[in-house]
Symmetry: C2
Subunit: 401 residues, 2 copies
């Protein structure tokens, strides 16, 4: 058996980001940049007014001064002359400053009378003027490669005058559930069989980390049928199987795919829930074999599949994000297997996050897994801890899983 | 001027969730249920073994007992007979318990020899048996209406034997930027003009809260052109405009759309950044007018548009999610306008979230907004606070904005 961290490190070391593709900015949300985004223009392009008012020479803007208004320059309609002594130009937020002017008289500090304007509050040179390039200049790197794009990133890329952006292709992830006893929802259920939740739960998890899931039909415990899957997944970035990875009597996946060239890296992890886990490579397609138990499959999906897909999308190789919290109830000492306690979360008024493991940690109960807000990480041989002790947790809600 | 909370309350009160549609489970991630999801079967469907081993009568399972193995029942291949005294049935995790049996002998506690099996560890009645309906029973509500579906929810819906689910239609949100001086990225820039980042940033924000954005072409400051937008947005759930809502000289949107039936509810909010804000209704389409300034537009988008779209998707009427944190640096007393300080976030080892507002809060600098992790909420007339004081923050990263 190997540890959770070792297993994840091996998986991540074996995966590379998908190639780049160009997408319109409108489709770039939550994609990962494949190259730095560099500004194609300077913002603001020239010195501009930060307010509505009048441009003038600071020397002309003493209290009570009266200036002649020589024109108006709304944003988008610049005034191309040169402002002389005693002159003012009407302008607005974002209007380009005319040559010769170095100060702004605010609209609310001015009295307008025909072509004349009176200064009711002395101006200061440079005040209320945004300098060219104050936000960024052409050639500046706006966004690095490997950035998971949010709405603000996309705004900044647009401001840099890019209508499209280079991102990593969404990883294609095939999902295969095996077993004589299972059926996808809505399909005929074999005698004594059950409906498989794994395929759809894992497909949603794949979406949550930016992949494109392909749910394959359920394959029975049949050597030839499993072998045929190798053809179906050619060109996929990752094959995820559920079931068929334990040491039980009915585990054909490994043997059947080995006959098609599967190289297995390991398949037992010192963890709970979810001990049986496989990782390997089937030609150019990575393969992760998850447990058949739905709770174990989800926990292993969060610990291994989520970072694997994130890596394929171009994000750095890293474990799922971990948050610190304090225990709302005592926990017992742990055995030699890393444990992942299903738990509820609450926040105290002072901001402290309180995590309370459920009293019952039954990996057969999907409904309790669905109710959880977080997984509490318990290292192998971790000591008993009292309520109030600090622990590391994986927040499920913010991951979309 | 009205407060941020009053404005949001009025907007949310005026909006209703979109109608329901049925989508395949594979497309249901991050959708919002339009009706409760009720289990269509019982899970487990009958009493099943939780482990690999042998079913037997507890009375037969004393230490050293020898039983006759009458058959094997892999999951999906139930054994339909009735187990008699002295008999055992080979079974596996998930196998249905045969009639007559009430105990499990674990595989690792058994020695098999041909048709016989010896008990090396006394069994206990009921142990390692999962009862029918332990997870849920047919008719149980699995997921309520109005739930934002994550991967675990989708797994539970699948386990309840639903291949599809009723969710609210994605809200259709039209985005309109107006102004003589602006161009979308990649388009010709007018003299003295700038590239508009608002349309694409807001489109990404719409996606982040589950809507389908439609970016309309930029419309110049022209009465007839703006009026024509009313036709383009018929059938949309929401029209979002940027620019044209201030009290400046170039604000035609309100007047032009009023000529087409726009009813304006209000348009000045006591907040910073982003004072000018419009809300109204254009026929069946709600309308939110955001400021033209990109930072103000994003902040107002987070405060007003995000909850509005969430409401349209079927989520409860609520403000954006707020987290408690402590200040990493002192802040000055606030004036009469609610402030939203751009800030960085860090977590201490004890789990405390520390939020440090940027020294410069310039609403002209999109790049600083892009760098922020959070907005610190400062109520009108909030007193000065020292480092270490508790404050409320909106986390931007977890919202995807």
């Amino acid at each position: 058996m190997i540890s959770v961290d070792d297993a994840r490190t091996r998986i991540l070391a074996a995966l590379r980001p998908t190639p780049a593709e160009i997408v319109p900015l409108a489709d770039a949300w939550r994609r990962v940049t494949a190259a730095p985004v560099v500004a194609r223009l300077t913002q603001p392009p020239r010195d501009v007014s930060a307010m509505d008012g009048y441009a003038l020479r600071a020397a002309d803007g003493g209290l009570g001064a009266v200036l002649r208004v020589v024109g108006s320059a709304p944003a988008g309609h610049p005034w191309e002359g040169r402002l002389a002594a005693g002159e003012a130009l009407r302008l607005f937020t974002g209007s380009i400053m005319p040559d010769g002017a170095d100060a702004i008289l605010l609209q609310e500090d001015a009295t307008r009378d025909g072509d004349l304007v009176t200064v009711n509050e002395a101006v200061a040179a440079g005040r209320h003027i945004r300098r060219a390039g104050q936000d960024f200049s052409a050639g500046n790197e706006l966004i690095p490669a490997g950035k998971h794009l949010n709405a603000r990133d996309i705004g900044l890329i647009a401001a840099g005058n890019h209508p499209w952006v280079a991102v990593h292709r969404r990883p294609r992830v095939a999902i295969l559930a095996t077993g004589d006893e299972i059926a996808l929802p809505g399909e005929p259920i074999p005698p004594g069989g059950i409906v498989s939740s794994n395929s759809h739960a894992l497909a949603a998890l794949v979406r949550a980390c930016g992949g494109d899931p392909v749910v394959l039909p359920v394959v029975a415990d049949d050597h030839a049928a499993i072998m045929a899957v190798a053809d179906a997944v050619a060109g996929m970035d990752l094959l995820v199987t559920t079931g068929g990875a334990s040491v039980g009597d009915h585990d054909l996946v490994q043997a059947a795919l080995a006959a098609r060239g599967l190289v297995v890296d390991f398949w037992q992890i010192a963890m709970r829930p979810g001990k049986p886990l496989m990782f390997g490579r089937l030609g150019d397609t990575g393969m992760i074999g998850l447990p058949g138990n739905p709770v174990s499959s989800l926990v292993c999906g969060i610990l291994f599949l989520l970072p694997a897909i994130a890596r394929l999308t171009g994000l750095p190789a890293a474990p799922p994000p971990v948050t610190q919290a304090v225990l709302g109830a005592a926990v017992a000492a742990n055995d030699h297997r890393a444990d992942h306690l299903r738990a509820s979360l609450a926040q105290r008024d002072d901001g402290t996050l309180v995590v309370t493991p459920f009293g019952r940690q039954d990996s057969a109960m999907l409904r309790m897994m669905q109710t959880a807000d977080a997984l509490v990480l318990r290292a192998p041989h971790a000591p008993a801890l009292p309520a109030g002790a600090a622990v590391s947790v994986i927040r499920l809600d913010s991951l979309g899983v």
